[in-house]
């Protein structure tokens, strides 16, 4: 199991980037009873056979790496959801994209904390490629939205350490407002 929910989100978003998505949408909700998140992309998607095997820890998409069959991200998430009375759904269509949703019981002792959302998102924005990444973040009190393109317009290169630190600061400021 990953140490934080953000780690699952980073893992899923990275899958989306590697699936050649040009648009990735993250939704993250944390409330007193449940935490839920989804990662939806318009990448290359999976065939019915690949989809059926995708959460098997001993399976990896053929061709992703020529001589290796690794790939534990989805398997780890499904295992955590199973162990913690959570939910996990995976939908995918070839050439259309993939959507992964998960939900955990916020009160379950073993539900991982959300973790470092600011560092996670700031890091995801530095992956090479011209993809849009959109995040909708909400609690029962408030919500905010950010996109890679808006942050890039405001700051310039999102791969400069000064700007990465500013993105972290920006997200942390939005998070503070969600909690108050």
């Amino acid at each position: 199991m990953h140490a934080a929910l953000c780690d699952y989100i980073a893992d899923l978003a990275q899958n989306a980037i590697e699936a050649d998505a040009t648009h990735i949408r993250l939704e993250i909700f944390t409330g007193p009873d449940e935490v839920r998140a989804s990662v939806a992309d318009n990448g290359k998607g999976m065939s019915r056979e690949t989809l059926a095997a995708a959460t098997d820890p001993f399976f990896s998409e053929p061709g992703k790496h020529d001589h290796r069959r690794t790939g534990l991200g989805l398997a780890l998430l499904r295992q955590a959801a199973d162990a913690l009375n959570g939910d996990f759904t995976l939908e995918s269509r070839p050439s259309e994209g993939t959507t992964v949703c998960f939900r955990f019981d916020a009160a379950h002792t073993d539900t991982p904390p959300l973790g470092d959302l600011a560092g996670t998102i700031a890091g995801l924005l530095t992956f090479p490629g011209r993809f849009e990444l959109e995040m909708e973040r909400a609690t029962p009190h408030d919500r905010y939205r950010l996109t890679r393109s808006e942050l890039g317009d405001a700051l310039g290169s999102l791969e400069e350490s000064v700007n990465i630190a500013l993105v972290r600061e920006y997200i942390n400021a939005q998070e503070e407002n969600l909690i108050l």
Partner: protein, 129 residues
């Protein structure tokens, strides 16, 4: 605390640029690339990434691009960090925690010295395209 807006972010960016006297922010001579596959994430690569960003900023280094990437095929040595710096061979370091992330900035980037005992030979053959 008032919500930070994108305009505030623009102003902060301009202030930082002035404060750091960034003469030519386009002139990047080095890249630091942190592996962020499932293996890297599980091994704590995010802490390494954050430490590298903070150390670059603390030292006022502006000629380095920082990126994340997927698995480099060295899952046994995560967190892995590739450093490509002018005048030095490209190096992939393994088992780089936050402290060693800071050492990459201070030793490799600033002083041009390699960090012994953490150099990986090369990425897995199937990763090389």
């Amino acid at each position: 605390m008032a919500k930070l807006t994108l305009d505030d972010l623009r102003k902060l960016r301009d202030e930082k640029q002035r404060a750091m006297n960034m003469r030519d922010p386009e002139n990047k001579t080095a890249q630091i690339i942190v592996g962020m596959g499932t293996c890297g994430i599980a091994a704590g690569a995010k802490e390494t990434f954050n430490a590298i960003i903070d150390e670059l900023n603390a030292q006022g280094i502006t000629n380095v691009l920082v990126r994340q990437t997927g698995c480099m095929g060295l899952c046994h040595s995560e967190p892995t960090v590739e450093v490509i710096a002018e005048g030095m061979p490209p190096i992939i370091y393994g088992q780089i925690d936050a402290e060693l992330g800071r050492a990459i900035v201070n030793r490799h980037i600033i002083n041009g010295k390699l960090i012994d005992n953490h150099i990986c030979d090369k990425p897995a053959m199937d990763i090389i395209r």
